[in-house]
């Protein structure tokens, strides 16, 4: 086992990253060792990034331990760059983080400066030129080769023709250099794209109670809905972010099945979500900022005032149903409130899709029943089918008796077989067997849907399954 990371105290006594744990223990008697958990680290970085959304909506992760913030046009809110950096520094120090930051004209330049800055420089441009060639992040061999050639800094490289670098170390190296110098674009991949509509409120004194925060959220919802009304849009997703004064943030999101401009509905859904949280919203030392974003908009026409009468009542009931579906989906999770949709296939278990009701799938026509015919598809379907033991004539006789769930059923009536072949593009592999379906009724009058998986010339000993139960 080796050390994955060391803190300042450990550095001071001479421990280094990559050192065997046994050596470190030998050097320092009372060493405090914590198991390395990259997943938790990533999680923590994500939470920090979420907290940084207070400075700018464009926050990108630079795994495993970096964050890139695009602060163009946002720094004046914190009295300039210095004020913004001081604010970040204060909050991160409070969280026990050691921070190393740099500001740069492009994302790659800022990143290289933060990670590789060696000596102070009079201005930004010369600071970039003084960066070591390691900032290009080529492989170790290439870096060594560059240093041996006497090219120690980015400035050295930049003064030479780019073509030579590309010829010797590949186009990637030339590209990395151009990005750091700002000659090539270095786009940011933000963690969350900025929402089209957002409303936020900052507090001089942090809010200590969740109830008060919810009240502010209601005011923000009203503001956001004013903006939506002006644009003729309705929101489908609403995302509230509660920024704590210690730098962390918590995001709570809701969604609706139809675009809405009803602040009451939005707040009811938020209340539902807040009530159902496994770990409740914790104000900690208080919230100092709350933001409500509407990341997904859809066109929504102006609505008619409520009228007395049949049509309006039906519309109200429809709206109440939509709200119920939204509320249940908010409470249970969006995949647990579903509607059915047919698909065009003969394979029974694939003939229906269950889609989240919140996505409001457009209805498609279903197979209509044949007049005078009993249903050929069961009411309940087992997916996967359950294996049963069957006594049937070989090779393709109907089942006579079968055992399912430890009970015997004698078949009184049957219809079949209905032969359903696998799709032609699946027939070659093992899953591509033909199924012979039988509708059977047992002595008690219960109707089942059984099938033999495979014909006798496809498989020596095909198995029987029960696939469904008829009404």
């Amino acid at each position: 086992m080796r050390l994955a990371s060391v803190d300042t105290a450990a550095l001071a006594v001479g421990l280094r990253v990559g050192m065997p744990l046994a050596d470190a223990r030998a050097q320092v008697g009372d060493l405090l060792v914590v198991a390395h958990d990259p997943v938790l680290d990533q999680d923590w970085l994500d939470r920090l990034a979420q907290g940084c959304a207070r400075y700018t909506p464009l926050v990108a992760l630079d795994a495993p331990d970096g964050l890139i913030l695009d602060i163009a046009g946002a720094e004046h809110l914190f009295d300039g760059e210095a004020g913004l950096v001081a604010d970040i520094d204060m909050r991160f120090t409070r969280l026990g983080m050691t921070l190393r930051h740099a500001l740069g004209p492009t994302a790659d330049a800022a990143r290289a400066l933060a990670r590789y800055q060696a000596r102070p420089a009079p201005d930004e441009d010369s600071a970039i030129r003084r960066l070591p060639v390691a900032a290009l992040e080529l492989d170790a061999e290439a870096t060594t080769a560059l240093v041996r050639a006497g090219l120690k800094t980015i400035g050295d490289l930049a003064s030479r023709p780019m073509a030579n670098l590309a010829a010797r170390f590949g186009a990637g190296a030339a590209m990395a250099l151009r990005r750091i110098l700002g000659d090539a674009p270095s786009p940011l991949d933000p963690r969350i794209t900025p929402p089209p509509v957002a409303a936020e409120r900052r507090f001089a004194e942090p809010l200590g109670s969740t109830a008060h925060a919810t009240q502010v959220l209601a005011e923000l919802a009203a503001e956001a809905i004013d903006i939506l009304t002006g644009r003729g849009k309705g929101g489908r997703h609403f995302r509230a972010t509660f920024f704590r004064s210690d730098g962390l943030a918590r995001t709570i999101a809701i969604e609706t099945g139809h675009p809405t401009r009803d602040a009451g509905l939005v707040m009811r859904l938020f209340a539902e979500r807040l009530d159902g949280l496994a770990d409740p919203l914790d104000p900690g030392f208080g919230f100092d900022m709350i933001r409500l974003a509407v990341p997904r908009l859809e066109t929504l026409g102006a609505s008619q005032l409520k009228l007395e009468g049949g049509a309006a009542r039906a519309a109200n009931e429809g709206a109440a149903m939509d709200e119920l579906a939204d509320r249940l989906a908010t409470r249970l999770g969006r995949h647990r409130v579903r509607r059915f949709r047919p698909t065009d296939t003969h394979i029974p278990e694939q003939a229906q899709l269950e889609l989240p009701a919140i996505d409001a799938p457009a209805p498609l026509p279903w197979q209509t029943p044949e007049p005078g015919e009993p249903p050929t598809r069961p009411f309940h379907l087992f997916d996967p089918p359950q294996p049963i033991e069957v006594i049937a004539e070989v090779p393709d006789g109907p089942p006579q008796r079968f055992r399912w769930r430890r009970a015997f059923h004698a078949v009184r009536r049957y219809e079949g077989p209905e032969r359903i072949a696998a799709e032609w593009w699946r027939r070659r592999d093992n899953g591509g067997l033909t199924r012979d379906y039988y509708r059977v009724e047992d002595a008690q009058g219960r109707r089942f849907w059984l099938f033999r998986h495979g014909l006798y010339d496809e498989k020596p000993d095909p198995r029987w399954y029960i696939h469904g139960v008829f009404a």
């Binding site: 149903m321 029974p348 009701a357 197979q367 005078g372 598809r377 009411f379 309940h380």
Partner: protein
Amino acid sequence: MRESSPSLAGLRQRIARLTADGGLKSRRSEGWLASGHARFDEALGGGLMIGRTHEFFAADALDATSAAAFAALIALRTPGKAPLIWLRTSDAGKRCGHIYAPGIAELGGDPDRLLLVEAADPKMLLACANDAIRCAGSAAVIVESWGKFPLLDLTAGRRLALGARDAGTTLLMLRLNAAPAPSVAETRWSVAAAASRELEANAPGAPAFDLELLRWRGGPAGMRWRLDWNHDENCFGDPALSGALLPLPARRAMASHGAAAA
């Protein structure tokens, strides 16, 4: 409502006075979920009363599908597009199978009206049921449970019943693999599968149900029916005895051959 004794009637009146809104006696229902079978509906005074709770017990664990289908069909018979909210726990699919929409379509029901809600556990199921029945505009709310349902005690049952009455929604409790127990339901049924009318070549026919009225708040219980479902007429009907009726499906094979030939 017929009262079994004057003292009981007196007590009911007292309770009605005590509860400001009149308790269960004040009826705000606007009709019935009718089966379409004349004698059945007549015996119940119109069908299953809207705004009330009705319980369907599967006579046996294997009759779960029959009970579920009966409840679904009587709710989906109603005209219009009002949704049928079906609440079940997430393990229900393993126990008695997933609800299969093509099968419902073949029974003449409209699967687009179905809103399936899967709760993680019975407690959540009850909480969602309470929300669902308070929302007017549904054809019915079906709450499917398996086995004993200790959370559904008299208090919880009454809360559901009051919610259904106030909103004018109908609650159909589907109790599978459970023994009938006292509750505040308006009617309580035992549903079992019945042998269907035989079709040509010994094929099983239209769905048939054996129903027993175990309890009815508005009248005598103990009645039994055997109904079968006619999806052409979209109603329940009398099962004809085997051979008593000209077998309609004599056309079946012909029709399909004809279609193929055409």
